[in-house]
């Protein structure tokens, strides 16, 4: 089934705060600043905003954002679940809303002080055992000391290494590529700070087989997008990035970060579901994509993403990466902003903004002739993905 809004909406504005380890201000302020910048980028005013779509884990309610932005009426507001898995889910939701006429100018954002206030990497030690289904789920892992996002992902990584012969160095090459790109992006936390594979290999263990440099940063910051119909976007200030399609995916025996009970745990079926929808909606294939922003909270799951989207065969991502394909100048430059490893961890929404820049031709690591960019949301959770394209 092809989505009726495919290719009919666009990201018309992007805006972000600085990315840091200590923002020195509230998450609400970060959200509002990012939204304001996205509106300015698009050239829209608060009175035009009538839709807002937020992440379930974002603590900044649309009504609070409205009060500070001066937005007086909303005709659509909704919320997308599953943390970083919502990165393109909010785009999907906003695009549906503007395409259907539920609203005309929709803001989406993600803002948090994930480093200076609530660190996800600290793990889930203090969960009260209230018997909600989500807490019950944690009961199958937390008592055994499987408590952090890194540990949840490491379980997939170990099995992937076992089945396909991938090594820690193969994961390291993802980090090296991201940091190389970040080194040339002034907005990146690791601007001017590339790493070598040797440094990756020398970095300390977080959860074997994952090292420190396999993990993305923990960041403070906010990122917002302004989404509207393509027709409206064409009359706004900045070059629109066409949302050729934005989709969500959740699959059999889906769990939060711990879908360990499936036949195989080395692939990402929910990503495959997204890929199939995106390619069906757009008529494009992997061959038509010139650059990608692949969710990189941890390096190992970048590999099966390349496989699920058809850039290489199953188990062969390590060769694809080793051959330099994901670096600037390669077949598919990945995470040209530096990714969450190099730029900032803003639950993937900063990656969507990079997708917009790639389409506009304004990335600090701009490859030539970019028509279509793939952007993905978090792996190991119910997820989402989008293809952003140049307006022809």
């Amino acid at each position: 089934m092809v989505m009726s809004f495919a290719g009919k909406t666009a990201i018309a504005g992007i805006g972000a705060t600085d990315f840091s380890k200590n923002s020195g201000r509230s998450t609400l302020r970060l959200a509002v600043e990012a939204c304001e910048l996205a509106m300015k980028d698009a050239g829209v005013t608060p009175d035009m905003i009538d839709g807002m779509v937020t992440y379930a884990h974002d603590n900044n309610n649309e009504i609070d954002v409205c009060r500070s932005l001066g937005v007086d009426k909303l005709t659509h507001f909704s919320l997308v679940h599953h943390s970083g898995g919502a990165a393109c889910g909010v785009v999907h939701q906003a695009a549906m809303a503007v395409a259907s006429g539920a609203c005309n100018y929709c803001l989406v954002w993600r803002a948090f002080n994930e480093r200076s206030e609530e660190r996800f990497g600290a793990g889930v030690q203090e969960r009260p055992p209230a018997p909600t289904p989500m807490e019950v789920d944690f009961g199958w892992s937390s008592p055994f000391g499987l408590l952090t996002p890194a540990s949840w992902v490491a379980m997939f990584a170990q099995r992937y290494m076992h089945e396909y012969g991938a090594t820690s160095e193969d994961f390291g090459r993802v980090a090296v590529a991201c940091r190389k790109h970040a080194a040339n992006n002034p907005a990146a936390f690791f601007y001017g700070k590339p790493i070598t594979l040797e440094e990756h290999q020398a970095s300390r263990w977080i959860v074997k087989p994952l090292r420190l440099l396999d993990c993305c940063q923990e960041s403070d910051g906010g990122q917002a997008l302004l989404i509207t119909t393509l027709d409206r976007a064409r009359h706004l200030k900045s070059v629109p990035a066409v949302i050729s399609s934005a989709v969500q995916g959740s699959c059999d025996d889906q769990q939060m970060m711990k879908s360990y009970y499936r036949q195989s745990i080395t692939g990402i079926p929910e990503m495959k579901l997204c890929a199939d929808q995106l390619y069906a909606d757009t008529g494009l294939s992997a061959a038509d994509i010139q650059a990608a922003v692949l969710y990189d909270h941890f390096t190992p799951l970048v590999l099966p993403q390349l496989e699920e989207f058809g850039f290489c065969k199953r188990g062969e991502a390590r060769d694809f990466i080793k051959d330099g394909n994901i670096e600037l100048g390669g077949r598919l430059p990945v995470n040209t902003h530096g990714g969450q490893i190099g730029e900032a961890y803003i639950h993937g929404l900063n990656g969507v903004a990079e997708g917009v820049r790639l389409v506009r031709g304004t990335s600090t690591n701009q490859p030539a002739n970019v028509d279509h960019v793939l952007v993905t949301a978090a792996t190991a959770v119910p997820t989402s993905a989008a293809i952003l394209s140049r307006d022809s």
Binding site: G145, W205, K208, I265
Partner: protein, 483 residues
């Protein structure tokens, strides 16, 4: 007296002591006669205590079919025969080891710990052989400082002969005689800081996170309390689900029951969390994703296994951990290896081959039974209060029992006709009751020696404190085609 003077004086004293000790090198004890010949009841008691089931030690019919043609004694019993019983012998005034220990004790080196044991078994001993052992001191170290303290290593060699004077084997035992080390100020401060840090941890973070339980998942946790691993099973179609569902997705039934798992599993994947440290976990630890024999998977801990030996695909068995009185958790450890009844041929084994791991629970029964069966009547092996006085939590396994278990481990892998010919191990952390020692080994070398197929295995026995034994053992395997 200046401090330098003290050192000089002390050095002079130490030099004198060392000279006295060295003077004992080469001196031999009076031959110690075994009180009884090699005999079936003692062998049977030893086999019972160690769990040795090779029939060539106890079953005349099976032994008749073996390469020996008759019952023989387990090689690891070599040192046992000439030991005194529960009635101590009069001390031999000529025994160089006793003399050395007396000198050391007078100089303040009163604590003793076994450091290395090396045994060589020339051939299998037959019933009726009358052994005699002569001990000589072969080596005295300089003053050494280890983690335990400062002192001297003594190496004693006991050579065993039978009634015809034929050499049948030897035992080299290296011991450390020391003054316990006092903590440095820095270490004391560190210890204090750690104590204070621990005191700051709130009670709920001193125990593992409690699972949240809902009506439909209670059966699992109740099962753990009853030491059963339960898998949800649909009463309608029999489908197994884990984690549990509230409605069978296959047949739609709400009649959800459970099946008790066999406890057999294979490791599917695993991780070793390192950072951030969780106050309620003991490091290192492994979180395993196991595939139960029944087909469902389970997150659990892999225990009784050194982390570096954990491998995807390894066979596992269920154990319940009840270190937390309110939360009994199902965990998995290496599965007990199956005793091999067909002897491996020399030609069929390869250098690098790894033996399956064998976790051994250090029980009071094993420690006390082993001590008595090896005629070791040191009180730390049978009297808990004595073990506690020695600073241990509970009874401590003696060296001969550890040796016996190592021999049994290799023999059960190699088969009944393989013969352990030598042991050379370093003794490390104590095997204390309540702990589990996991034996692991790999073939390090294989050589044909005088028409015999001799393999050398690297061996390790680790427990929760570290490595109890590390070293090598040699073994003779039959060569050529199976008879």
């Amino acid at each position: 007296m200046t401090s330098e003077g003290t050192r000089k004086m002390s050095n002079t004293n130490e030099d004198k002591l060392l000279a006295q000790l060295q003077a004992l090198i080469g001196r031999k004890s009076a031959p110690q006669q075994a009180r009884d010949p090699v005999n079936q009841p003692s062998i049977r008691n030893w086999c019972d205590a160690i769990g040795e089931e090779n029939p060539i030690y106890t079953d005349p019919d099976a032994a008749a079919r073996s390469p020996y043609g008759e019952v023989v004694a387990p090689p690891a019993m070599l040192g046992v025969w000439t030991l005194a019983g529960n009635i101590p012998r009069l001390p031999d005034p000529d025994c160089p080891r006793s003399c050395a220990m007396k000198l050391l004790a007078e100089a303040g080196y009163r604590s003793t710990v076994g450091a290395n044991t090396a045994e060589h078994y020339s051939r299998a001993l037959k019933l009726g052989e009358q052994l005699s052992g002569t001990l000589s001191l072969v080596e005295v170290s300089d003053l050494k400082t280890t983690g335990l303290g400062s002192g001297y290593f003594l190496t004693a060699l006991t050579e065993f002969t039978n009634q015809q004077g034929e050499a049948v084997g030897s035992w080299k035992f290296r011991t450390f005689h020391f003054k316990p080390r006092e903590l440095t100020d820095e270490e004391r401060a560190k210890q204090q800081a750690r104590k204070e840090q621990l005191a700051k941890i709130p009670p709920h973070l001193r125990v593992r996170p409690r699972p949240a339980v809902m009506r439909e998942t209670a059966f699992f946790w109740e099962g753990c309390q009853a030491r059963e691993l339960r898998i949800q099973q649909c009463g309608g179609c029999g489908r197994l689900s884990h984690p549990p569902v509230v409605r069978c997705p296959q047949c739609g039934s709400y009649d959800l029951r459970y099946q008790v798992a066999s406890g057999k599993a294979k490791l599917y994947s695993f991780v070793e969390p390192v950072y951030p440290p969780m106050p309620f976990m003991r490091y290192p630890y492994i979180v395993g994703l196991v595939e139960l024999a029944e087909g469902t998977r389970l997150l659990t801990n892999i225990v009784h296994c050194p982390p570096e030996l954990v491998k995807i695909g390894m066979d596992l068995e269920l154990v319940f951990d009840d270190t937390d009185p309110e939360l009994i958790l199902p965990m998995f450890r290496p599965a007990q290896p199956v005793r091999n009844t067909v002897t491996r041929r020399f030609e069929d084994v390869a250098v690098g081959e790894e033996l399956p791991l064998w976790p051994i629970d250090v029980s009071t029964r094993l420690v006390v039974g082993g001590a008595i069966a090896t005629r070791d009547f040191e009180d730390i092996h049978h009297e808990v209060a004595a073990a506690k006085r020695a600073g241990l939590k509970d009874l401590l396994m003696n060296v001969f029992t550890s040796n016996g278990l190592c021999s049994r481990y290799l023999s059960e892998w190699a088969g009944p006709d393989a013969r352990v010919s030598g042991v050379d191990i370093r003794l490390g952390t104590p095997n204390v009751v309540g702990d589990t020692m996991t034996l692991s080994a790999a073939i390090a070398d294989k050589q044909e020696v005088d028409g015999k197929g001799v393999i050398t295995l690297s061996l390790r026995g680790s427990n929760s404190l570290g490595d109890h034994v590390t070293g090598s053992m040699t073994m003779e395997l039959p060569m050529g085609a199976n008879k």
